[in-house]
């Protein structure tokens, strides 16, 4: 017997809009089923005789009419005894067709929720007027937020049990708004409706018992929701899904995730940084040529030049391109049976691209009931965490807050999707090679003094001792002490220090991720010049990003020596020679490495010096030995 549902579906008239997909969530026993039952009944979405059947069933058991049975009965028929997974039930309000996505089950809630609710346009959060916001209320609201659902209608249910009291409603309203605001939701436009699903107040029929409420009913509130706006106004993101050559055309196929493209547009492909123009938009079975395409469309294009393109590349306009990075922060929800651990590797799927990523760090696990965060060394099934993921190659992506379509990913382990997450680039910089030479009429002129001759004159080789480490780890102290020692021994040696260059060479730069990248680029170039001039250069910069240090290494791969000045955050903070940690803790300095910006430890430094274990003298002695062995002639 499927007629019940068939009927509910078929009684609807699809109009030009897709049905609004709604997910219903809330704490157990706050009356979700009753709200659904009442909504279906009062909107006339139920088949004839259904209510009578439930009434008879309740009479037989000598109990008052129970709306929740209606939902169970509908489901039982639909499910034929399987109540395992997500179901889709159509109904209609006065204004529009809706699909209720019902994700049952408490045990597997997260998996069901992401499979169903991830595609919802909006959610109804049911809260008991008597109990107010409870653990699952918070949990569900948090997950909705994480899944990108920004439209929430709150039904404060069981108003009959609190005597339809306005004061109680306002208290619960304030509670709910407080939590939603913490999540970053727009509470100004969140509709909060006092209802009694059991009595039918304010579900579809305006309540006579709550004359103080003049807002919309629950049904009218649903009518006020919108399908999510299309992403056509965002910058173009066209991830390549496949390349077809069924005939003499080479067609790049894919779905435009955001923005639009036109024939003749110059496209930039990431991460290869190649460009070409759109020669045509290919469409089968159409008379008129198609000249433009937009977000949501699965299209095919040809290019004017035969550049190498493969699945996973992302086409954009030449301006407003996606970010390129080998590292990002992810807020992940974890569905894996095995915990996520630092160092674990997973396959990351981001639109059509796949990358092998390693968990560099688990920063914190989020307690969704109070949004509290705590340090943890693992992420267990069904929990949410903030982690740092790193890949070998460059990934094209956007922060989730900028573009949800290209700012989210899933992780795969042993053939299974084990988690999903949203991308944040807080503290990380775009690694797109931006330092393109701006002037073009520049030629390199060969020196007539070979570097080897300079070495012979100085009686030592030249190179870069690149000291990296947290603020307060001891970089400057060691650098200047070592400089003094080596100078006395006859070395041509010079220190480039972070604080000093920021007074001149890099005076125009701040501490944003982009500025940090540029700072290190300039220092790297300067250090390479010194090294070329025969000097032993010692640099003393926090240089927190591995990618930046690697880039300097690439400038002078033979001469670069990464020296990790290692001291843990606690020790550095205790030393705090410049009082900076204290300021950062007070929030007076933003983007402070170790506190509010990341530090990426070197993986294979040429040398590591632990300043918490050795005195300054011992450290300098270790460094001097290293210099003698590597730079002596």
């Amino acid at each position: 017997m499927n007629d019940v549902l068939g009927e509910a579906i078929l009684a609807l008239t699809p109009d030009s809009h897709p049905p609004l997909k709604i997910v219903m969530v809330g704490h157990v026993d706050h009356g979700k089923s009753t709200v659904i039952g009442r909504l279906f009944h009062d909107t006339g979405s139920l088949p004839e005789g259904k209510v009578e059947a439930i009434k008879a069933m309740c009479d037989r058991r000598g109990m008052p009419f129970e709306w929740a049975f209606l939902m169970d009965a509908l489901k039982a028929e639909r499910d034929q005894g399987i109540t395992i997974d997500v179901s889709y039930i159509h109904f209609r309000t006065g204004q529009r067709e809706c699909v209720l996505i019902d994700a049952p089950g408490h045990r597997e809630f997260l998996k069901n929720m992401v499979s169903g609710a991830a595609q919802a346009d909006a959610a109804v959060l049911v809260v008991d007027a008597n109990e107010g916001v409870q653990e699952q209320t918070r949990r569900h609201a948090y997950l909705l937020h994480l899944l990108g659902i920004r439209q929430v209608v709150v039904a404060v249910n069981k108003m009959d049990l609190v005597g339809f009291d306005e004061g109680r409603f306002l208290t619960v309203t304030a509670e709910v708004k407080h939590y939603l605001a913490d999540l970053g939701l727009d509470t100004l436009h969140t509709l909060i409706v006092p209802v009694s699903a059991r009595e039918g107040d304010n579900v579809v029929t305006p309540s006579a018992s709550m004359p103080w409420y003049d807002g919309p009913t629950l049904e009218r509130s649903l009518d006020s929701l919108h399908p999510p706006p299309t992403s056509s106004d965002l910058p173009l993101r066209f991830p390549i899904q496949d390349v077809y050559k069924f005939d003499d055309r080479r067609i790049l196929a894919g779905r435009i995730e955001s923005g639009h493209l036109r024939v003749g547009d110059q496209l930039l492909f990431s991460p290869t940084n190649k460009t070409a123009r759109v020669a045509s938009i290919e469409v089968w079975n159409t008379d008129e040529p198609v000249l433009a395409a937009r977000a949501g469309q699965s299209v095919g294009i040809t290019l004017d030049e035969p550049i190498f393109i493969e699945r996973g590349q992302v086409a954009s306009q030449t301006f407003n391109a996606p970010m390129l990075t080998s590292v990002f922060r992810g807020r992940v929800f974890w569905l894996g049976h095995k915990p996520m651990l630092p160092g674990n590797r997973y396959k990351l799927k981001l639109n059509t691209a796949e990358h092998l990523v390693e968990v560099q760090e688990i920063e914190r696990v989020v307690d969704v009931s109070d949004l509290g965060k705590s340090a943890a060394d693992r992420v267990e099934r069904n929990s949410v965490a903030e982690v740092v993921l790193r890949s070998r190659g460059l990934m094209s992506l956007d922060p989730f807050e900028v573009n949800l379509h290209t700012g989210r990913f899933v992780l795969v382990e042993d053939f299974d999707i084990v988690g999903g997450g949203l991308i944040s680039m807080d503290g990380y910089a775009d690694q797109r090679p931006g330092q393109v030479q701006k002037a073009t009429n520049i030629f390199r002129v060969a020196h007539r003094v070979p570097t080897e001759d300079r070495w012979a004159a100085n009686r030592h080789k030249s190179g870069i001792l690149w000291m990296t480490g947290l603020s307060g780890a001891g970089k400057s102290t060691l650098a200047f002490t070592l400089e003094q020692y080596l100078f006395r021994k006859g070395y041509q040696v010079y220190v480039l220090d972070g604080d000093n260059v920021r007074h001149g060479l890099c005076a125009d730069l701040g501490f944003s991720p982009e500025d940090r990248v540029e700072n290190i680029r300039r220092v790297g170039q300067a250090a390479a010049l010194f090294a070329h001039a025969g000097f032993l250069v010692i640099t003393s910069f926090i240089s927190p990003y591995r990618s930046d240090r690697d880039r300097v290494r690439a400038l002078a791969p033979e001469d670069f020596h990464e020296i990790f000045i290692d001291a843990d955050l606690e020790a550095c903070e205790k030393r705090d020679p410049k009082g900076l940690y204290a300021k950062a803790r007070r929030g007076e300095i933003t983007d402070f490495t170790g506190i509010s910006a990341p530090y990426e430890r070197p993986i294979l430094p040429e040398m590591r010096v632990d300043t918490t274990q050795h005195s300054v003298e011992d450290c300098v002695a270790l460094l001097a030995d290293y210099v003698t062995s590597r730079f002596g002639l």
């Binding site: 017997m1 499927n2 007629d3 068939g6 009927e7 579906i9 078929l10 009684a11 609807l12 699809p14 109009d15 030009s16 809009h17 897709p18 639909r78 499910d79 034929q80 005894g81 399987i82 395992i84 997974d85 179901s87 889709y88 159509h90 992401v114 499979s115 991830a118 899944l147 299309t230 056509s232 899904q241 496949d242 077809y244 069924f246 055309r249 067609i251 894919g254 779905r255 639009h260 036109r262 469409v283 089968w284 079975n285 008129e288 198609v290 000249l291 433009a292 937009r294 949501g296 469309q297 699965s298 699945r311 569905l335 799927k349 989210r408 899933v410 053939f415 299974d416 999707i417 999903g420």
Partner: protein
Amino acid sequence: MDSLNPFPSRKIGPTMDYLDVLEHRTIYILREAFNRIDRPAILWSLGKDSNAMLWMVRKAFFGYVPMPAVHIDTGKKFPEMYAFRERFAREWGLDLKVGGCPPVEEMDPTLPPAARSAARKTAGLKLMLEREKFGGLIAGIRRDEEGTRAKERVFSPRGEENKWDFRDQPPEFWDQFKTDFPPGTHLRVHPILHWTEIDIWRYIQREGIPVVDLYFAKNGKRYRSLGDQDITFPVDSTASTLDEIIAELKRTKVAERSGRAMDHESEDAFERLRADGYL
């Protein structure tokens, strides 16, 4: 300013309508299946849904059907269906593979009669899979057709013997599908899962997709759903045009598969069929 309108074409107009949204998602899924599956094939039942799906295959692949079209033939279809198959296999340039089915006597005798008859199709499908070694099948089922189908995933892995484990399905969200499998796993892909019956008819009307005449009413009867002659029955209807079918569907109180006997013989007959690999 009109000459600068970036969207001069109706097809790529400034807004996508309801059917466009459904269609473009289906095309995305079809392309994912084609890219991710080793040796895919598309199931062609000759019914309205698989015709609409094949139409979208041709849109997805720019006029081509770059994979075999499989018809599992129980030998008991309507003559009109066979005529339709021959004509459009030729017109659409299909690489058609017809698979036969074992006799009903070889089917599970504990199944009710119509379900037992329908089980032949599952057996025929298994024979075809063994013969052709398809890595995955693209099938035109829809969520609104029937309860167990409402729970399906777009990419639905099948274990040993093509069985469907509906109790432990992979998560599927943000259009990231399960596309990683141990060798030997067989996959079902459902590109029109999100369509409803009336959507399909409206799309058939908009696109001018051919369908078997049996869907149109003659002498007060028409078929809502096409299967084997002996276990499929027409419904009362006077809808003899696409407009009339769509109008009928807006008001009908009868379920789409009400004319399919095996759905209704016992409470769990259809679920048993599906768990065993029936579409």
